[in-house]
């Protein structure tokens, strides 16, 4: 049977392949063919069914023979081969699905299945009924039918598979088992088992031959192995001996290497070793820190490309070539400074030491590198700081010098050199008495020694003569120490130039003297009219002659007015000095204004002086100007002109001309008086100053007039010019330019046209001072005015509760309740009707006070003293809102 086994061993592979192919063919092809056939059969059956249905519908429609319809249609829903059946009627070309089985089928779903091969339709035409019957075959039914048909085939195939598997195991037992034995023997031989003999018992003769050959191979190998083992034992002993020697050498080498490595790694400087081709062979930790490259990255890299800046690479390469050719390296074994390159591209300063070492045939170069960036920076910072200190000391506006313990100059700043007119070279290292030959040198050196000895020396004042000019200095001294561990002391001398301070001090002393003179003058000017008023009032009291009364009263009035003008001048000058005067322009007919100017009464009889007005070009011109201040300027100038002219003429000359929308005027006040000397002309324009003190004594006056005039003219963008020769009169000239007011813009002059409208007015006057109450009564008596007087704020409140008034004049400064508080009560408690104006009547004459009173609720402000004419004009200009009293 061996031949049979051999035959089987040869054919079982192809046989298995063929059997598998056949199974695949049968398993795939036959079910496919059956599916196609079944589908065709199903379609044919559906076609038959649908045609039958169509015919019966046609018959039923045509002949009213519905007898078969129930029979055909009744079991549609029970047919598993149908998915659905639908009845579609056509009418007027439109199709409508009238029934379906199952009933949830729609026309849209039928249209959607148009392309389905299992959708079968048949038209019918039966009288009224035209349309189509549609049925859809069931895929599920087809699948189930196909599965049913394929069941025998599947069983058959399963049997075939079982048979093939059985055959496989059968063949494996016959053929594969002996082969496995051969493989296992070969494996055991490979693993070294040469003692187990090969079992050659097999029915296949090729395999038996193979086993015999394998067994011979095993025997040969076994013999060879025994020989080898003997040789190996001898060699192993020799190797062990040599290995021991080598290990000892290696350990010594490793120790040496570890020592070298630890030295390199712990070095404070970067250590870079390169071979003769400039390839890096060693790179320590400090090098990693300095250059930014790790050891792994650096080893093997070209030295010049890694750490040498581009500008130095060529020099480096030339140096290396030179060394290789000549054996000379100028930079070797020397410490020098150069630059290196960091990983981030930064070029930085280094200190470098390079040494060449011969190792075998090769030469290596060890470089020790120190990063000196910080120290360089510190050095530069120190230098900069030193320059800054020098600049600072030299730039200070004071004299500074340093002297050592021998009192020799060690530093002198530029300002001191300039002031002392010395060179630095001439002073540094020399004592003060070796440089200067002046009277204060000895004293100065004594003071220096005193300071060195720890005495406190107050600053002294020294003078220097320079180009004919005297310079004053304040010199101070103190000791300074420089350095912490070993401090060095210096004497620092500083000096301030105080020449300007000296000059200012002189000016202040002069100004104080001037002010004292002014106060004396003002005191005299105030005392004089006061004396007249007191004496004349006393005489008035004593006199019983009426003809004297008028003369006394006139004198009292004149003295009082003079006193008032003086106080007004002082106030005006004070305000002008503080720049608190504001101009109040109003339309001013300039021709009428000039013609209204009269000679000014000076109170001093100086003989016969005529007054002439010479005006040209002013006809019909109205300008916007501050009438009061312009009048004040002219009154001051004219007052001076009349005051200082004993005989002759005072002339007011005005020339005007249009300049666009402005009117330019040149004013001049010309007198034939005593004149002003050239040197006094500048002085008289300043306040408090007259040409000389004798003027005050002779002509009177405070000297404020021209000062006020100058300041007012500056407010009007003008300057006062003086032309005068002593003893030949003076001309005061100034130019003014005001905006022209066209006739249409001019307002009616209310003041001149307003009539007397205060008769019958009910006025309350609140005043605590009895004399002032009497004055008010006297002033109001002729005007038929119903005056009520309250002596305090409380009385005023009570009076207002009981009576009605058209106007209230309120004193501000009163005891207990002042005018402001009284007004608050009157307003807040509605005691006084809101339309009744309350005017402040006060001696506080400043603009600030005026504004404050208006803000507090006063309707207007009247300033004491007040003439009856001024009061009457005020009452006319500020009538009450109640017009009833006029009736």
């Amino acid at each position: 049977m061996n031949w049979l086994n051999s035959l089987i061993a040869r054919i079982w592979g192809p046989f298995g392949l063929m059997a598998a192919s056949l199974l695949l063919l049968v398993g795939i092809y036959i079910p496919q063919q059956q599916a196609v056939t079944l589908r065709e059969f199903q379609v044919a059956e559906l076609d038959e069914l649908v045609k039958t249905m169509a015919i019966n519908i046609s018959v039923a429609g045509k002949y009213d023979d519905w007898s078969r319809l129930s029979e055909i249609f009744g079991n549609i829903s029970e047919r598993p081969s149908l998915e659905f059946a639908a009845l579609i009627l056509e009418s007027d070309g439109q199709q409508a699905l009238v029934a379906s089985n199952p009933p949830d089928i729609t026309m849209a779903s039928v249209i959607e299945l148009e392309q389905n091969p299992l959708l079968v339709r048949a038209p019918f035409e039966g009288g009224a009924f035209n349309g189509i019957v549609v049925v859809l075959g069931s895929e599920a039914y087809l699948d189930s039918e196909l599965a049913r048909l394929n069941l025998p085939l599947q069983i058959a195939m399963a049997l075939v598979v079982i048979a093939v598997v059985f055959l496989y195991f059968f063949l494996a037992r016959r053929v594969s088992q002996p082969l496995r034995v051969v493989r296992e023997v070969a494996e055991s031989i490979r693993e070294g088992d040469l003692t187990t003999p090969v079992d050659g018992d097999t029915r296949i003769w090729e395999l038996r031959s193979l086993n015999l050959a394998l067994d011979r191979l095993r025997s040969g190998l076994l013999e060879q192995r025994r020989t080898n083992e003997a040789l190996t034992r001898g060699m192993e002993q020799e190797i062990q001996r040599q290995t021991k020697d080598l290990r000892k050498t290696l350990d010594e080498l490793q120790d040496s290497r570890n020592l070298f490595g630890s030295v390199i790694e712990s070095a404070l400087d970067a250590m870079v070793i390169a071979d003769g081709k400039s390839r890096i062979v060693e790179w320590n930790r400090k090098a990693e820190q300095i250059f930014g490259w790790s050891r792994e990255e650096a080893i093997g890299q070209a030295l010049d490309k890694l750490i040498i800046p581009h500008v130095h690479r060529e020099d480096h390469n030339k140096g290396m070539e030179h060394y290789h050719s000549s054996g000379k390296g100028p930079v070797l074994n020397k410490l020098f400074q150069t630059q290196a390159l960091r990983r981030d591209g930064e070029v930085f300063e280094i200190e470098l030491f390079i040494t060449a070492v011969q190792i075998g045939k090769e030469e290596v170069f060890s470089s020790f590198i120190r990063d000196i960036t910080e120290s360089k920076k510190l050095s530069r910072d120190l230098e900069r700081q030193r320059e800054l200190n020098s600049e600072l000391l030299n730039g200070l506006p004071m004299l500074i010098s340093l002297k050592d313990v021998d009192l020799k100059y060690t530093f002198v700043n530029d300002r001191a050199l300039e002031a002392l007119e010395q060179d630095r070279g001439n002073m540094i290292g020399r004592r003060e008495n070796e440089v200067f030959e002046t009277y204060w040198v000895e004293d100065s050196m004594k003071l220096d020694r005193a300071v060195w000895n720890g005495e406190k020396v107050a600053p002294t004042e020294n003078t220097l003569q320079r180009e004919g000019d005297t310079q004053h200095f304040l010199i101070g001294r103190y000791l300074i120490s420089v350095g912490r561990e070993n401090p060095t002391s210096y004497l620092l001398t500083y000096g301030f130039e105080i020449s300007q301070l000296k000059a200012v001090q002189q000016q202040l002393e002069t100004a104080l003297s001037t002010k004292d003179e002014f106060l004396a003058t003002v005191s005299h000017e105030i005392r004089t009219p006061l004396h007249s008023i007191i004496v004349l009032a006393d005489l008035l009291n004593q006199s019983n002659r009426e003809e004297e009364h008028a003369e006394f009263a006139e004198n009292i009035q004149s003295s009082s007015r003079h006193l008032l003008e003086l106080v007004n001048d002082i106030l005006d000058f004070s305000k002008a000095s503080a720049k608190r005067i504001e101009l109040a322009p109003q339309p001013l007919a300039i021709e009428q204004f000039v013609s209204g100017m009269n000679r000014v009464e000076t109170g001093v009889r100086l003989g016969t002086v005529s007054f002439r007005k010479d005006a040209e070009g002013l006809e019909g011109v109205t300008v916007m100007a501050d009438r009061m201040r312009l009048n004040q300027i002219l009154q001051n100038l004219l007052s001076n002109a009349f005051k200082f002219t004993e005989e002759g003429e005072v002339c007011l000359r005005v020339r005007g001309a249009r300049n666009g929308d402005r009117f330019d005027m040149e004013w001049a006040v010309i007198d034939q008086g005593i004149g002003i000397s050239a040197e006094d002309q500048e002085r008289v324009l300043h306040a408090f100053e007259q040409a000389h003190s004798g003027i005050s004594r002779k002509f009177g006056g405070t000297g404020l007039g021209l000062g006020i005039t100058t300041k007012l003219l500056r407010l009007m963008d003008s300057e006062l010019e003086i032309e005068s020769t002593l003893g030949q009169g003076a001309t005061f000239r100034f130019k003014l330019s005001f905006p022209i007011v066209e006739p249409a813009d001019q307002k009616q002059d209310m003041d001149s046209t307003k009539g007397d409208s205060i008769s019958g007015m009910r006025m309350l006057y609140v005043e605590d001072m009895l004399p002032n109450q009497m004055v008010m009564k006297a002033m109001c008596k002729p005007w038929n005015l119903q005056l009520t007087i309250a002596s305090s704020g409380k009385e005023a409140i009570e009076t207002c509760r009981e009576h009605t008034f058209d106007l209230v004049l309120m004193d501000i400064q009163m005891p207990e309740m002042d005018g402001i508080e009284t007004l608050k009560v009157l307003k807040s408690e509605d005691i006084l009707p809101s339309h009744v104006p309350v005017h402040a009547f006060t001696a506080h004459a400043g603009d600030d006070e005026r504004d404050r009173y208006l803000q507090l609720g006063f309707a207007g402000v009247l300033t004491k003293p007040l003439t009856p004419q001024e009061l009457k004009q005020f009452l006319n200009e500020h009538p009450s809102h109640v017009e009833g009293y006029r009736n």
Binding site: I57, A60, G61, D64, D65, W66, S67, L69, S70, F73, G74, N75, I76, S77, A85, L87, L89, V98, A99, S100, N101, P103, G127, A128, F129
Partner: protein
């Protein structure tokens, strides 16, 4: 009157609301009580398959071209003959009812009803022939 009803024939002698008063159900053991119009309409719309006695409902209609069919369509479906025909076709197609039996005329209808228990037809006064004789046993 003790009357054994052989025939279940409903004579429609009037129309409209008079139906319930004028109609008289007759038939084999079926007409012991009057049928409301609603129940009859259900039968003629195919919505009733079995009478209360257990017999199958058989609807008998004159041919579709007849005036009687037209009247039945109007009464049962409030539609014309075609729509009534279409209604029956659709419910028969869906298997919800058996197809009605179509006869040539009223006489044949009476004859059919007489011979088939459970059959029902409608005679309309306006369309019934003058010589029609209904025998009630």
């Amino acid at each position: 009157m003790a009357m054994r009803m052989q025939l279940f024939l409903l004579a429609l002698l009037s129309s409209g609301s008079a139906w319930s008063q004028m109609g008289t159900p007759i038939g084999n053991d079926l007409g012991k009580t009057q049928f409301p119009e609603k129940k009859l309409k259900e039968a003629f719309l195919g919505n009733r398959a079995i009478w209360n006695s257990g017999q199958s409902v058989v609807i008998v209609l004159t041919n579709t071209q007849s005036a009687s069919f037209e009247k039945t369509a109007a009464w049962a479906l409030n539609a014309d003959a075609f729509d009534y025909q279409k209604h029956w076709l659709s419910i028969v197609f869906q298997g919800r009812a058996d197809a009605p039996v179509f006869v040539k005329d009223e006489k044949e209808m009476i004859s059919y009803v007489r011979e088939h228990p459970g059959a029902i037809g409608i005679l309309h006064q306006e369309t019934a022939p003058d010589d029609l004789v209904i025998r009630v046993e």
